[in-house]
């Protein structure tokens, strides 16, 4: 690890000012990703600003009916918060499917959104990687790309976003509240994460000197019919090959509202809008779910080693929808 100055921020304003004046400074909260990246030599900030004790850990209902989740609430507290378990069990399930209890106890929600790809070529500093070293090329494109993207990738980068929480948040139409030096802004999660295009070094919309302060989820009626399905190489404690977050609302035997988001298939959590359109207004059935999955996967462009992900994703979409449908006979 390269030497760095350590500073504990005593307020949000102070933390942001400290980062804004030093282009090589970074925030640290849970530390579960940044410290690993620093040990690997992928990140080398010359200053870390500890924000872990700032008062941004509240989880509460807002007067407008939205749920607000503090950026510094830990993953464990978030997944086990009574409001979230009762009204947004999809989010609890997604968080609990990720990492291990130890890591969830440490990781914050803001940091979870910011975690970087686990592409092995990104992690191997002897390899070219446009995300780590812009302009150096993508070693994964012609390399071993079994775990890589099948949707929305570019010649510059085929890596996938590794998280689970953000996949559920994408299905739940969450927004990210961001504090800058002079202004606050709110970004829809679908605009917060981005596709790699020509500049994969940028994972998301956050700029240097900005801090995620909270996540907001609008009211929904998916609490009784939602499911987070995660498929991975081992039963637990592994990143997703494919994951699916779904929520269904039924009315009079028809699907009134539906959300489907995919993890492990693209540079961002992938909202399967085309699949949603197919099932809206229809009576739920395995056939219609399969038709929806087929429609979404028309866009898939598999690489040399990950053709299996296309069929796997289709089946995972169908399974997740069936599980959500039967989650609770309300």
């Amino acid at each position: 690890m390269k030497p760095f100055k350590f500073k504990r921020a005593s307020s949000v304003v102070e933390a942001i000012e400290e980062i804004a004046k030093n282009p090589k400074a970074k925030f640290i909260a849970g530390g579960t990703n940044i410290l690993d990246l620093m040990k690997e030599g992928i990140e080398s900030p010359d200053e870390l600003v500890d924000i872990s004790r700032l008062p941004l850990a509240q989880i509460r209902m807002l007067p407008n009916g939205n749920l607000s989740i503090g950026a510094l609430a830990r993953n464990t507290e978030t997944a086990n918060h009574q409001i979230i378990r009762q009204k947004y069990p999809l989010l609890s399930q997604a968080i609990l499917s990720g990492a291990s209890q130890q890591i969830r106890n440490m990781a914050t929600n803001g940091g979870n959104l910011m975690q970087r790809t686990r592409c092995p070529y990104f992690y191997d500093i002897s390899m070219p990687c446009n995300k780590r070293n812009p302009g150096s090329g993508c070693a994964a494109l012609e390399g071993l790309n079994r775990t890589h993207a099948i949707l929305g990738w570019s010649e510059k980068c085929i890596s996938v976003y590794p998280g689970d929480m953000a996949v559920a948040l994408t299905a739940l139409d969450a927004s990210i509240k961001i504090q800058g030096k002079n202004a606050e802004r709110i970004v829809k999660i679908s605009d917060f994460f981005r596709l790699p295009e020509d500049n994969p070094e940028k994972d998301n919309d956050l700029n240097h000197g900005e801090l995620i302060t909270s996540i907001e989820i609008p009211k929904n009626n998916f609490a009784n019919r939602s499911y987070y399905l995660k498929i991975r190489d081992r039963a637990s404690y592994a990143f997703a090959l494919v994951s699916v977050a779904v929520g269904i609302e039924l009315e009079g035997g028809k699907i009134k509202d539906a959300r489907i988001a995919l993890g492990g298939v693209a540079h961002k959590p992938w909202r399967a809008s085309d699949a949603e359109k197919i099932i809206l207004g229809k009576a739920p059935s395995e056939n219609i779910f399969r038709a929806a999955a087929e429609e979404e996967m028309k866009k898939a462009k598999p690489l040399a080693h990950n053709k299996f992900k296309v069929e796997l994703t289709k089946r995972a979409i169908v399974r997740a929808l069936l599980n959500a449908l039967n989650a609770k006979q309300a």
Binding site: P3, K5, I28, R85, Q86, S92, N105, M106
Partner: protein
């Protein structure tokens, strides 16, 4: 620096091992270096005590309660909690496995929660209450989880064991508090005292890897402490009395 807790035996053994390997290096490379260089290396070796390893480029002073005892340490900002425990306080029960948050060998309990000490900066532990494997027993009396690991032979090489035990101790409290896991049914309604099936224990312990594969016995040890009921054993430890040959 604070070396109170670094026992005489631990310190001298470490220094000895360091010197042995350094001397080996000098001997092996003898033909490649000049006498002047060799003298210089000797001087460096002479200084290479634990103290001089403390680079202190960006010193941070941290006060923390470790196994019930208040400690004040001045550490470099880069030092992890794991390295501070092992290298500065001589608490080598906590193990360095992968050092990248993938194996769980470094698990300790911080403010009542199990965490990975390899991905925690000591600088961030100011004011924290930390329990390591060394802090679980009360005097000569082992923690019930330690007893159970012995009883069910829940280890082979033992390297992952301190992390497994710290993890298991925290796990039982989490289940009492009603914390859910990915395999918990009805997370909307379950609130307290979750009864742990084998599947639950395996899921909740998945952050602790054991390359010897002692998992079945680890699960049994945890199950016994959790249920306070004897678990079935399908094996016996061989003793001299049992030998028939």
């Amino acid at each position: 620096m604070n070396q109170e807790n670094l026992s005489e035996v631990g310190a001298s053994r470490r220094k000895f091992l360091g010197r042995v390997s350094a001397t080996t290096f000098v001997l092996l490379s003898a033909s490649l270096i000049t006498p002047e260089q060799a003298t210089k290396m000797e001087e460096i070796l002479e200084k290479s005590t634990v103290d001089s390893l403390d680079a202190d480029l960006n010193p941070v002073t941290v006060r923390a309660k470790i196994n019930g005892k208040e400690q004040t340490l001045r550490v470099d900002s880069r030092m992890t909690l794991l390295d501070a425990l092992r290298e500065r306080l001589g608490l080598t029960g906590t193990k360095k496995g992968c050092d990248h948050g993938q194996c769980g060998a470094c698990t300790v309990i911080l403010d009542g929660k199990r965490i990975l000490s390899c991905l925690t900066l000591m600088a961030m532990c100011d004011g924290c209450d930390i329990t390591t494997i060394e802090g679980l027993a009360k005097g000569e009396k082992l923690h019930p989880m330690q007893e159970a690991f012995l009883k069910y032979d829940a280890f082979q090489c033992g390297y992952c064991t301190p992390g497994q035990i710290c993890s298991a101790v925290a796990l039982l409290q989490e289940a009492k508090n009603g914390q859910a896991s990915y395999v918990t049914q009805n997370i909307q309604t379950v609130t307290k005292n979750i009864k742990l099936s084998e599947e639950e224990i395996r899921e909740r312990m998945s952050g602790n890897l054991c390359r010897c594969g002692a998992y079945p016995n680890i699960v049994k040890a945890i199950q016994e402490v959790h249920t306070e009921k004897e678990q079935s054993k399908d094996w016996n430890i061989s003793t001299n009395q049992d030998e028939t040959v």
